[in-house]
Every structure is written in structure tokens, then in C-alpha cells.
Amino acid sequence: MSSVPAHGADRVRVLSMNGGLEFDRGTSVSQPPSTFDLFVDRGFRALSHVGVMLVLLIIALLLWEIGGKALPGMQRAGLGFITGTTWDVGREQYGILPAIWGTMYSSLLALLIGGVAGITMAVFLTQDFLAPRVAAMFRTIVELLAAIPSVVYGLWGIFVVIPFVRPIAETLHDEFGWIPFFSTSLSGPGLLPASLVLAIMILPTVAAVSQDALRAVPFRIKQAAYGLGATRWEAILRVIVPTASTGIFGALVLGFGRALGETMALAMLVGNSNQITLSMFSPANTLAALLALNFPEAGPREVEILMYGAMVLMAITLIVNVIGSWIMLVANREPRR
């Protein structure tokens, strides 16, 4: 105590005097909340409830508004909307089967490319291949890939990816044109360039979620595999990846959901032509691109039809995303042994 400087000693004395006095009067620094405090408490908690309710309201509104606005369109176009193959506003013929086909085709192709690359990237970043600093650099690159707006990817796709893919596609078409996937030539926009850009866009999602799954694999399982004499890749492919498989599968489903709903890159690169084709060099259409292109200049009658299309897209993505979220929930809940 003697070493405390005079100034500090003063303050201590003053404080202790005050505290002592107040203590004598039966009060202290801590006290029960006043009526006002309790009132504020009630109010804030109610407000927080409202915040949560608003989130649920968004989901309800999505279903109610889009479903409700689509109802007249559903009555008009019926199930033929989903099975029809022509989209002709002039003749009021609306069929979105080509768009559904294009959505599935481009998303699956993107998932094939982006999924393999994303999982490889996740393995590469979590299984001690790199010095921590290099791994952090690659991780930043993947995260920045996710940060670039899709419209910029679209612009880049038009001026870089299409010119780059075109000669390759021409060669494949000339040499292997009998394979249905290469049966047309790439004249500009098409499924392959669109899917390539889409793959780049879902890679960060797949990589990030897979990394979490791979990190959750207990260290001792890995050590046991190495202890039995497994090489690094035997341990990865036969022990670590299978252990993390639920989470990795969830990552793929979430990536697929993202690909299904992606709009701009596809609207700019897929060619917007309503046809059902196996060829990956052919232009096609997707649901999201169809909505993006037709909504801005739609009249009230066409809006009803487009709302129907939005509902189909919502149903597909909602189902895929709920499955994905649910798999992640299970993957995080199940105890690992």
C-alpha cells in the first residue's frame, strides 16, 4: 500500500469513504431494477420477438405473395405450363420445360466441375498440404472468388470465357460430333461457358462448407489411419472423406441450390433460347434467366404467368435448400466416434 502514489491513494480513500457512506444508508452500487428498467426490458424483449417474427414473415410472404399472384396464371396455363415447350408471348403460349431442363443441365454440369474442384480445394486446405501462411492465401483467394458480383462474372464470361472455350468446343465438335454432348457447334453463348462460370461461383460455397466438415473429423481417426501405414491419400480417400461424407454431401446440395437460383451469369451467358438439348455447346435457357429477361417489360397478364414461373423456381430451390440445411443439421448433430 505504501508504494501506491499519492494521487492513487487519494482516489482509493475517497471511493471507499463514499461506498462506506452509501452502504450505511442501505444502498449499494447494485440495486434491483426500477419500474422503468422493467418496462424497458419488457419492451425490448417484445421487439426482439418481432424481429424473429419478421424473418418468419418473409418466408410466409414469399409463399403467400408469389403463390397468390401465381394463382390466376396457374388457372390459365395449368399443368401444361410445366410440360409445354414453347414460350410465345404473342400467342399466349407459355411452356417452361426447356427452362427447367436448362436449369437442371447447367446446374448439374456446374456441380460436377465446381463440386470436384471445391472438395479437392477443401481437402487441400485442411489436410496439412501447405504451410499455414500459404493455406491462408489460398483460402483468401477462394473467399474473394465468392465476393465478386455475378454480373461481373457475366461480363468476364462474355469477353474471356466464351472466346477461350470456343476453339476447344470447335475441335471437340469436329472430332467427336457423334457424341450427343458435342453434337452442335458453339456459336457464342451456350451451356458450357455458362456452366463453367457457374462452377466458379459455387466453388467457394462447396469449399467452405466441406472445409468445416473435414475439420470436424477427429484427429485421432486420422492418426489411426497413418498408424496402420496408410499413405496420405489412402487416409484421405478411405478414412477422412468418408467420415466427413455427410457434411460434404450437404455442401454439394447447398452448392446445387445456389447454382439453381443463380441468375445474372446465366442470363448473360446461356443464350436464352428455349430448346431441350443434350449438347453442352448449344444455347439454352434457365428459369431464373427467363424471369430476369421477361419481368421488366411484362404486362399484368404476363406477370401472372411469370409469378407461376417464380413459384416453380421457388419450389425447386426451397426443396433443395431445405434438404441441404437439414443434412448440415444432421451432420453437425451426430456424435463422431
Partner: protein, 297 residues
């Protein structure tokens, strides 16, 4: 006894780099490197194109002038820059309070209640909501009701996309606050609201700001939800003494989309320059938020 031990042959523990298993392992490692490097190519290609093609056109005129018509030379995207800032601002003004209130509920007030679990699941599902559907909802809720394409309609669409990000990051940040700090505050006789407002939120603030900034960065680049809520415009939001808030509003993202499909070189150059500006905004926000979100001490 001694005979049994003599029968055990000691396996060769030497590394055999030319053995098939080792070769396969090394080959796969090489493949993984190749994939990782290939995945980095798009990022650098995009950045290279933005700097070369966008950088050559980026000047004061591009940042401050109105977009050019058809064959016009020069021009810029000043009104789109303003439009993006205004609409992201409207979106954040809606999404941040709602998101933080909901996050407080999920992290503290009702973290294990049925409502909390349902809302958390709903939020996670909403993160995967296609951005175009946010546009469709805003179209139904705002455009059809007010009867015009407008900046607020675009802002509402963006807020729908920002809310899930804000909630999930803020919830994580609030949950990271040490329990002893909470207990100390309760011990002093604080109400739950006082604990939340005076202890939890101030302590979690860096994490919450990170989430908000990430949401803002994502919203700034969104195009699809603005296409038919804000549409586009060749005029300023504030012109000739009146504010055209309920009129179609330009944004960088929609301008890039519109100009990218035009057959005029001038517009395409401007699309690249606008992309450069947009990516710079997004990347700067990302880097700053990363810096802020870094755990202190």
C-alpha cells in the same frame, strides 16, 4: 518361446518412393495442386481484365457523368453510383435493426425455444434464396402496390438478401461473448435488456459490424433483384430541384448488365469501368470487415 520370436519377420520400414502406393499418393498431391492453382486462375483473370479494360476508361468523367445514349461518346455512371449507394443504404436501414433484434433472440432470449430453432432453420434456408426471388417478392410488395419502379423497391429487395447474413453472423458474435461477463452483469442486478444492450452487444460489436459489412458488400453487387424493382434510369436521383425517389433508379450492377449487351464499344468500356468500381467497393468492404472481425488481443 525364443523360437516364436525368431519367426516374426520385421517389415521393411524404409520409404519406397517408387512403390505403386507412394506414386499414386504423389500423383494425387500433384493433381490437388493443379486444381488449387486452376481455381485461382479465374480470380486473377477477372482482376486482370478489370484493371486493363476498366482501368483505361476510369476517370473523373466516368465517375460523375450521366450514361451516354446509343452512339454518344464519353459519359459515365455517376447516377448509377449514387443509386447503388442509396439502395444499399435503404436495404441496410431495414436489414440491420431487424437482423440484430432477431439475432439477439436467437443467441440469448430464446436460443433453444421452438420459435428460435424454427427461425434459425428458416434463416439458414433464406441464405440460399435465389436473389431473383427476393426481387419477385419486392415487386409484388412494393412495385405493384406503389405502382412504379423505385429506389425503395430495390432497397426492400436488397434488405431481404441482407437479413439472413446479418442474423447469422450477429448470432455467432453474441454467442462468443464469455459467459462470465454475462453472469457478472446479472449479478449486479441488471435486467436481461441491460445485459444485452450494455454487455453483449458492445462486446459483440466487431463481429456484428463484420456481418453487416459482408451483407452490404453482397448487396452492392446484386443485379437480379434490382432488374425489375429499381429498373434503370439515365437521370440523377436528385435533379432540377426535386427528388425522384419513386422513379426508376439506376444502379452500377444493372448498368453493367445493360451495357454489356450493347453493340457500342463506348458502352462496353463503361461496363468494364463500372465493374472495376463495383469490385473495388466490394473488395475494400471485404478486406476492412476481415480486419475488423479479427479477434482482438
Amino acid at each position: 518361446m525364443s523360437g516364436a520370436t525368431a519367426d516374426v519377420s520385421i517389415p521393411s520400414l524404409q520409404r519406397a518412393p517408387l512403390e505403386r502406393r507412394a506414386l499414386v499418393s504423389n500423383f494425387l498431391t500433384g493433381l490437388a495442386w493443379l486444381v488449387a492453382l486452376l481455381a485461382a486462375v479465374p480470380l486473377f483473370s477477372v482482376l486482370y481484365m478489370l484493371i486493363v479494360r476498366g482501368g483505361s476508361r476510369l476517370n473523373l468523367e466516368a465517375l460523375t457523368a450521366l450514361p451516354p445514349a446509343g452512339f454518344e461518346m464519353g459519359g459515365g455512371f455517376g447516377n448509377a453510383l449514387v443509386g447503388t449507394v442509396v439502395m444499399v443504404g435503404i436495404g441496410a436501414a431495414i436489414a440491420v435493426p431487424v437482423g440484430i433484434l432477431a439475432a439477439v433472440f436467437l443467441a440469448e432470449l430464446g436460443s433453444n425455444s421452438t420459435l428460435g430453432n424454427v427461425a434459425r432453420f428458416a434463416t439458414k434456408t433464406l441464405t440460399g434464396l435465389p436473389s431473383i426471388l427476393a426481387g419477385v417478392l419486392a415487386y409484388a410488395l412494393v412495385v405493384l402496390v406503389t405502382g412504379s419502379y423505385s429506389a425503395p423497391a430495390g432497397g426492400v429487395a436488397l434488405s431481404l438478401l441482407m437479413v439472413p447474413t446479418v442474423i447469422l453472423t450477429a448470432e455467432e458474435a453474441i454467442k462468443m461473448v464469455p459467459k462470465i461477463m454475462k453472469d457478472a452483469a446479472y449479478g449486479m442486478g441488471c435486467t436481461r435488456t441491460q445485459v444485452i444492450l450494455k454487455v453483449l452487444l458492445p462486446t459483440a460489436l466487431p463481429g456484428i459490424i463484420t456481418g453487416v459489412m459482408l451483407a452490404v458488400a453482397r448487396a452492392a453487387g446484386e443485379t437480379a433483384p434490382l432488374l425489375f424493382t429499381a429498373l434503370s434510369s439515365s437521370y440523377w436521383l436528385y435533379q432540377d430541384g426535386h427528388l425522384a425517389l419513386m422513379q426508376p433508379t439506376a444502379s452500377l450492377a444493372v448498368l453493367i448488365y445493360n451495357f454489356s449487351g450493347m453493340p457500342f464499344d463506348n458502352q462496353i468500356e463503361l461496363a468494364w469501368a463500372a465493374s472495376l468500381v463495383l469490385v473495388l467497393i466490394v473488395l475494400v468492404i471485404n478486406v476492412v470487415s476481415r480486419f475488423l472481425g479479427r479477434p482482438k488481443i
